[in-house]
Every structure is written in structure tokens, then in C-alpha cells.
Symmetry: C2
Subunit: 222 residues, 2 copies
Amino acid sequence: MKEIFTLSEENYLKAIYHLSTEDEESVSTNALAERLQTTAASVSDMLKKLAKKELIEYKKYQGVNISEKGKRVALQIIRKHRLWEVFLVEKLSFNWDEVHEIAEQLEHIHSPILVKRLDEFLGYPKFDPHGDPIPDESGEFQAMPQMALSEMTPNQSGLLVGVKDTNSLFLRHLDKIGAYIGAKIKVLEKVEFDGSVEILLEDKKTLFISKEVASNLLITKR
Amino acid sequence: MKEIFTLSEENYLKAIYHLSTEDEESVSTNALAERLQTTAASVSDMLKKLAKKELIEYKKYQGVNISEKGKRVALQIIRKHRLWEVFLVEKLSFNWDEVHEIAEQLEHIHSPILVKRLDEFLGYPKFDPHGDPIPDESGEFQAMPQMALSEMTPNQSGLLVGVKDTNSLFLRHLDKIGAYIGAKIKVLEKVEFDGSVEILLEDKKTLFISKEVASNLLITKR
DNA sequence: ATTTATTTTTAGATAAAACTAAAACATCGA
DNA sequence: TCGATGTTTTAGTTTTATCTAAAAATAAAT
């Protein structure tokens, strides 16, 4: 007897989950309204609904925290989103900057068996094309210790494992400079003046990365 | 500037299209209500909406006919439905009796490029797992001349190219007796008494097919 | 050709998810 | 501590897609 949620409820849950992992604190109404491109009033309405279904813990004027139940639901949606992204890139040869909107739709397809079969078809991937971990059926995922490129010091090196921003313009910029998930990156020098970083990419090519870009690249050591 | 339709509108259009190809005449409100498991009142409401968008031709109390525009939209949804069914069966190893409900959801994903890539990935299939033709991007499809097995006469033979009913129980019965799309079938004898048919399947095995089953199997000669 | 039965449409309500405007609450600075 | 400011909630609408009950139109039957 699997409980079914509406498109809206699913999108709210996902947003609440993401915002609560970004900040440690409870999520504010305004932050949600901003994220979901809607008004605080609409958010308020929906929060009452989600609280009644025990998907969130909510006290008026105090912001929300996602409940265990809510987290389970959110992680399954995220699982589907990321699996579909892998499918689109690996099987349908989409570029990694083109898959987000389509996956936003596909993530709401309800069929546990479909997800299972898709996972199998894709060879049980652990990360999506942007380097984000894919939760398993019980919501567990591997979180590697990672840091932003902008926080590394000269002579440290590691692998590019993820991006913070998944904006299309940003991703295409990465394609252009030859950076991809899995690439080896070594920090050569940090420029005091503008916060940019000089790196060695794949032991082949040196280049300068702006502060903005560097802070959106996630690196794991070895 | 592609016009977007709601889930409901798409489901109505598809139902109207299917009902108008089944009967030659215009589609009645009640038939639609029955098909969509809703009330005549709801159908009446929706018909006004679809008519205003010029997706159907509608005169009060006279039933509906689908317009050219409506047909275009319906055929694209049907295209998506059937492509996804091929994907589920060919790539995710679903059985042909399991794919309908999932494809009912997937058919509403809006992304022309996705459909194109999926079609390519599947090798431009012309028929879905039940033998139904897949319309191309402009809505054209190959319609083979076909007849129900129950209408064939002894000694005629042909290939099983489709099923009328896609009910799960029926399809699993076909699996059990070894009948599949593409199988060669020769009519040996027709039994007067109960309308059943004795056939030779794949030049290997003879068996009796009930009248009910025979009338749901579509055969094309040679 | 009327009456009866069936089908279809309208009228009025409901539920979900959004909105605007206004009221209630919280917080921070003086 | 008490306003000023900003945040959040409530109240009242709107839109979409339903529904039930009743009215209107069509079709069937005597």
C-alpha cells in the first residue's frame, strides 16, 4: 500500500530536503518560496498539508524540518532524478547540461519496478553525470569527503568529482576548458589578487580558473 | 512555440482519437465517460474546453470528431506511448503485459528532443510490443492489411502481427500457449460448435484456440 | 404523435494549488 | 523595552478538473 503524493508535494519535499542539507538549520518559508518560484503564502498553505501527512515537522513561524518519512520520500525522488540523468547521458547521448529539465519530469513517474530495472540496465551507477551520489533503494548513498577547488592549497591534487552549480552555461564552460567528472586536477598556484587558481589538468594542460568557477568545482583527494 | 496541454486534455484527446478509429462515427459523451472512467458531466465540460482550443469539432448533443490539429497531438502522444513500450520491453526486459500502465505515465513527458533520441536509441522501431504501429514525427504510420484470426478460413496462413486486447491475463495466456508477435499461424480447422479454431503454430505445434482468443489475434497474410 | 426512456448538458459544489492583500508574529536596533 | 522592519500566516479569490442533481434535448416505443 504505497502512499502516492502529488507532483507539487513531491517538488516541495525535494526542495525542503535540499535546502536542509545545504544549511544545517530549519528551512524558512521565504527560502522555499524563492527556490520554488512561488509566494510565501502558497508555501505556508502547502506546509500545513505536508505536516498533516507527517512528511515534515512544522511549527508556525518556526520554519520546517523534514521528517524521517519525508526524507525517505525525497531520497527516492532524488534517486529517480539521478538515475534518469545517467540514462539520458549514457544511453541517449545527451550532454550533461541538457538533462536537468527532462529529469525533473521523469523523476515523478511512479513505478518501483521501473526504477529497479532502470538501475540494473545502467549497471547500478553510484553517481550521476554531475558527480552527485545516487541513493539506493533504502536511501543510502556514498558521500565522499570533498572540498571546493577554491579551498585547496598549492600542490594539493585530487579528482574532480562534482559540480555545485548545474547551470547550463557553467557546464558548457567546463566542457570548453576540458574539465570533466573524474579528471585529475592539481593546484599549482593561487592568485591573491582575484582569487583565481592555476591548475594542472590531467597532467597535460595548465590553465587559470576564476574564483567563481573554482568555488563550484568539487574535488576529492586521491 | 509549442502549445502545451494538460495531462487531462492529453488523455481526452487520446481517448477521442482511439474511439473514432474504432467506430467510424463521431464519438459520444457516454462512450468517453465509460472509457475514461468518469461522468458524462465531466466529459461535457472538457469537450467545451477542447473545442475552444480547436482540438475537436463539437456540436452540442451531436458527439465529437477530432480535428486535424487534435489528431496531430493525439498521434504524438501515441507515438511516445509506443516508443516507451518498446524501450521497456527491449531494454528493460519487461514482459509485454507489464508495460501499459508505465507507458501511460511516460507518454506525458514533454520533450521533443527526448522522443527523437529515444527513437534513435531503439533503432527506429515501426511497431510496439503488441504489434501496434508507431507513428513517425509527422504522425504517419504503416498500417498493414490485417484480419482477426477468427475471420480466417481453413488452410489460410499468416503472421501474428498484433493483439486487440492488451489485458494482462490475455497476454500471459498467449505467452503460455507460445504465441508471440511475428509467429507463423496456419488455420487447420474451424469448429462449428463453439467457434474455436485449430491452428498450426510455427509449423511445429497444433492447438485449439477459443473463439474469444481468436477474435483478439490479428493476422497479416504472408 | 405522444409518451417514455436515454443521453447530454447545465447548475451548483468541492478539492487542489496557486495568487493578492491584509493581519499576526518575530527580531533587531536604538 | 519598544518600535521599525521583515517574515510568515490568514482570509478571500481564481483556475482546473472533478462530482451530484436537475434540466434539456434526442431517440425509441407504443
